[in-house]
Amino acid sequence: MRHSLILRIFALLFAAALIAIWQLATDARLFSPVFFPSPLRTITALIDGASRGTLWSALAATCLRMFYGWVLASLLGIVLGAAIARSGPIRAYLEPTLEFLRPLPASAVIPPAILFFGLSNEMTVAVIAFGAVWPVLLGSYHGFTNVEPRLEEVAAVHGMGALEYLWKIAFPGALPDIFAGIRVSLAIALILAVVTEMQAALPGLGFNILMAQRMFRSPELYAGIIVLGGLGFLTNQALLIAERRLLRWRTLTR
């Protein structure tokens, strides 16, 4: 308890030290303030954006994009992973195609996605889902293939049907692996939300950052980056808390 408190204090001190160095470097004019603002100016820009509301609308747009894409990727990944794991024919049919698609950089599918969906939110959701589906798919596949064989027999003795078995035995058993994939996917979803906004000039934090860069408004540029970092940090923390609650049985041992 005390130990972890000390660690936390040091973690905060480290972050504070970095900001201090940043402030000192800008005070010393090591970089031109046009390209590299001081922390103070950055925070002022942040507060300014928050009070004018522009920050909130951009944040909301990026959050929604990321959320829809990530949810779609997660559902798709869980279902596909389960299907491939549980069915030999499905695996045989899908595996070569998936192995071809998997290494494709998600940014490479932005142009065809724009042709299909236009410069729209649907396009960004499709691209995010494409890029973020793989970790969930792999996690789900791994989880659904490694179900305790003994539990399959328990299911048989209890006369469970296929769906009941999937819901009561296989899915809860695969959940730890699914969660591992879902967390990686969340990070990818944030990256792709920003990239697609920049490519398609759709409103959001990514687009704001790009505009700030083009207009040499470096405080706004860095303010946007800080918000993005905070967004990634908080969403990951929220997912960790959800995971800890749902998988409580794994940490509670004798």
Binding site: L151, V157, H158, L252
Partner: protein
């Protein structure tokens, strides 16, 4: 070697379980391996049958056949005159590896409720009925724990409670106490003997522990290995309820022990 007709051993009532010419082999052609060779056994209703044998004699395989988890290569099993073709809630198996047989993400009471769910018992009733069973196994205090938080003996009790929740007619136990320490094992032996007597459940109990087989069984069947076959079958004429001290000191108990020990050594 002693061999006798099992049908004559019990009353006129038809046996609960009949095995006829039951064989199992793996592989084909020259690599074919015979695991169980023409097992003929009857188990009377309400009987507690212990099966012992050296490792590799196919006793676990025999139990899995009875549970319907594996189909036989030849021969037939009849349970109350009906051929066994697959698993059934009326023939429930209790596994030795309790740690893998429980759902680790479900609390203890919910593990028992799994059996109630499969019997179609209404959600509102499940918790109370699960707790009633847990009370019988002395587990009330840990109903809201996860299995991983319990000792091995308690986890095995949970598995037995779940098996009882199915209200089976036949309880198949595969070395259920093999992984437990001596004290826990004795306590669970007495509990299962009491439950079997109270509920009039037919039990087939696999063990490699000679004394456990005699202590629990109405009858002890010894299997010989390579291939697995019935080597002997003998009634245990010890009064019930049995007692860990006096029963084990009874001259009849010791006589059984001597005879079966010699038999297992021969094979």
């Amino acid at each position: 070697m002693q061999s006798r007709s099992d049908a004559s051993a019990t009353t006129a009532k038809p046996p609960a379980l009949r095995m006829r010419n039951l064989s199992l082999s793996y592989g084909v052609g020259p690599s074919r391996k015979l695991i169980l060779d023409a097992i003929d056994l009857d188990v009377a209703e309400g009987e507690f049958l212990s099966i012992i044998g050296p490792s590799g004699c196919g006793k676990t395989t025999l139990l899995r056949l009875l549970a319907g988890l594996v189909p036989p290569s030849a021969g037939e099993i009849f349970f109350h005159e009906q051929p066994v073709t697959g698993p059934s809630r009326s023939r429930v198996i209790v596994f030795q590896d309790y740690g893998r047989a429980l759902l680790p993400w479900r609390k203890v009471w919910a593990n028992v409720a799994l059996a109630l769910e499969s019997r179609g018992i209404a959600r509102a009733e499940r918790r109370d009925r699960a707790y009633a069973l847990l009370e019988r196994m002395g587990l009330t205090a840990v109903g809201d724990y996860f299995p991983g938080q319990l000792s091995g003996g308690m986890q095995q009790r949970v598995q037995i409670a779940r098996a009882l929740a199915l209200e089976p007619q036949l309880l198949l136990m595969d070395e259920p106490f093999g992984a437990l320490d001596a004290m826990t094992r004795q306590a669970l032996q007495d509990e299962i003997a009491r439950l079997a007597l109270e509920q009039q459940i037919t039990v087939v109990f696999i063990t490699h522990d000679l004394e456990e087989a005699i202590y629990l069984g109405d009858r002890v069947v010894a299997l010989a290995a390579n291939p697995g076959r019935v080597a002997s079958s003998s009634e245990v004429d010890l009064p019930r309820p049995r007692n860990q001290l006096t029963t084990r000191e009874d001259p009849r108990f010791l006589a059984h022990r001597h005879r079966l020990f010699g038999l297992l050594m021969d094979h």
